[in-house]
């Protein structure tokens, strides 16, 4: 049994940020990630981030991932890739470890699954940063090859350089749907239409404007009725919806597409947290069932912390801040602090408030506040 001070599940922005802070305070720190590449969703973010300098505006997500990884290495964080945490009990993680950590081995592997080794890791503190999972949408024909999550299409195109299809229908005009549409255009696909069931575009205007300028129609109050095809998607039927979300008879239209991307939101990937015994709370604004946590990011199970999309679906910038907060607080609970940590925590909380302000984000701020208030009552006190 391997023993560490701090084990972190997930090497995305939240997990890496948490690891850096933990290691800076003298914790032996191990990050586990099931993927062959570290960085979580950042490795697919080929676009530049916007916002403040503090949150690396103007930097591409993939570069942010590289910076975080470099910093983690400097602080002597161990990052174990291809490591699937399949169980958690007390403060022990059961891991199936499939890769050597040498990324050349995994990228040349094709479809073959390397044999896994079993590892057990006992950690004094655990930070879960398992991210979000894409929501599915079921309609007749949705099991045909060619129907996929927008995130899956983005991974294929941006990480593995495989174009998922040539003629795309994007379902959902939130930021994911808009950004992935633009990136698929850049990769050489034709985006036939972006449809959105709500009467308004959900994502930022700046992203919507980019794809409109490229000539892609964005049809609000529209849904996908069915997919047709023999062995794969050959056609999509879409229709207008009324105010109660029902398709309007006679408004059906056929689109000649080979790929249907589903971008209808994400939810916290709370399985491991749930298995650990963490109490969940239902919050539609945060993506559904989310682990209850207090202002120190600690869950209802003492010693287990959460950060990033797992603690409410938001953005990479908030995930970074929550990760830092979880890392500092987990280390502090082991008696490992740096001078000035109280001020650092206050500054992080201030930045989180500013990131969650404005008409677009205020509902999330309110939902997060509600979750933390529940956490302050239900989670253990120091």
């Amino acid at each position: 049994m391997r023993k560490v001070d701090l084990a972190i599940v997930g090497a995305g922005p939240a997990g890496l940020a948490a690891a850096i802070e933990g290691a800076k305070r003298g914790c032996s720190t191990l990050v586990l990630d099931m993927n062959p590449l570290p960085g979580g969703q950042l490795v697919k973010q080929i676009h530049k981030f916007f916002g403040s300098q503090e949150h690396r505006a103007g930097t591409r997500g993939i570069e942010i991932a590289a910076q975080l990884l470099h910093q983690a290495e400097t602080e002597e964080v161990e990052v174990m890739l291809g490591a699937e945490v399949y169980a958690i009990h007390d403060r022990t993680l059961e891991v199936a470890w499939a890769f050597t950590g040498d990324s050349s081995a995994s990228s040349s592997g094709g479809g073959a699954t390397p044999p896994s080794r079993h590892l057990a890791i006992a950690a004094r503190r655990i930070i879960l940063a398992t991210g979000g999972a894409e929501n599915a949408l079921n309609f007749p024909g949705w099991t045909l090859p060619g129907v996929m999550g927008a995130g899956a299409a983005q991974t294929m195109s941006n990480v593995w350089r495989v174009l998922p299809g040539e003629r795309i229908l994007m379902v959902g005009a939130g930021n994911v749907g808009l950004i992935v549409s633009y990136q698929l255009l850049q990769a050489g696909a034709e985006v036939v239409a972006v449809i959105e069931a709500a009467p308004r575009i959900g994502g930022y205007g700046v992203h919507a404007a980019k794809i409109r300028r490229a000539g892609v129609p964005i049809l609000t109050s529209h849904t996908v009725v069915r997919a047709e095809g023999r062995t794969q998607v050959e056609k999509a039927v879409i229709a207008r919806v009324d105010s109660s979300w029902q398709p309007v008879p006679g408004s059906e239209r056929e689109l000649d597409v080979d790929t249907i991307c589903i971008a209808v939101g994400l939810r916290p990937n709370a399985r491991l947290a749930s298995l650990a015994g963490c109490c969940l709370h239902y919050s539609p604004r945060l993506g559904g069932w989310v682990p209850i946590h207090n202002s120190r990011m600690e869950t209802t199970i003492p010693g287990i912390y959460v950060a990033g999309d797992l603690s409410g679906v938001e953005e990479a910038s908030t995930a970074l801040e929550e990760g830092r907060l979880a890392g500092i607080c987990a280390a502090s609970s082991l008696g490992k602090s740096n001078p000035g940590d109280d001020e650092r925590i206050a500054a992080i909380e201030e930045r989180l408030i500013s990131l969650r302000s404005g008409p677009f984000c205020q509902p999330r701020q309110d939902a997060k506040q509600e979750l933390i208030e529940i956490g302050e009552v239900q989670c253990c006190k120091e």
């Binding site: 945490v85 399949y86 169980a87 059961e94 199936a96 298995l275 559904g288």
Partner: protein, 91 residues
């Protein structure tokens, strides 16, 4: 209104109609649907369909989504081989 023939759980090929039937027979939560239909018991363990099952439950029983919690999570939460389990508990 979802068509009865539409698949919900693609791993176990469970349809909307089968889930509605299970609810009529008394399934009142995700676990109840799972036990009666196997929805969520395949390779992905409900990762894809669980939220759709919750939505059907809410619609059929006329209750808000917040009343339907995810099914009990049990290890392994990722698909692993029996060979790996046989390696024992100390790696």
């Amino acid at each position: 209104m979802m068509d009865d023939d539409t698949i919900v759980c693609r791993c176990e090929e469970v349809t909307v109609g089968q889930i509605r039937q299970a609810i009529r027979e008394g399934a009142a939560d995700v676990t109840g649907v799972k036990r009666r239909t196997r929805a969520g018991m395949g390779l992905c363990q409900g990762r894809t369909c669980e939220k759709i099952v919750m939505r059907i439950l809410a619609q059929e029983l006329g209750k808000p989504l917040s009343e339907f919690a995810p099914a009990t999570v049990r290890p392994p939460v990722q698909p692993i081989t029996f060979g790996l389990l046989a390696e024992g508990t100390d790696g």
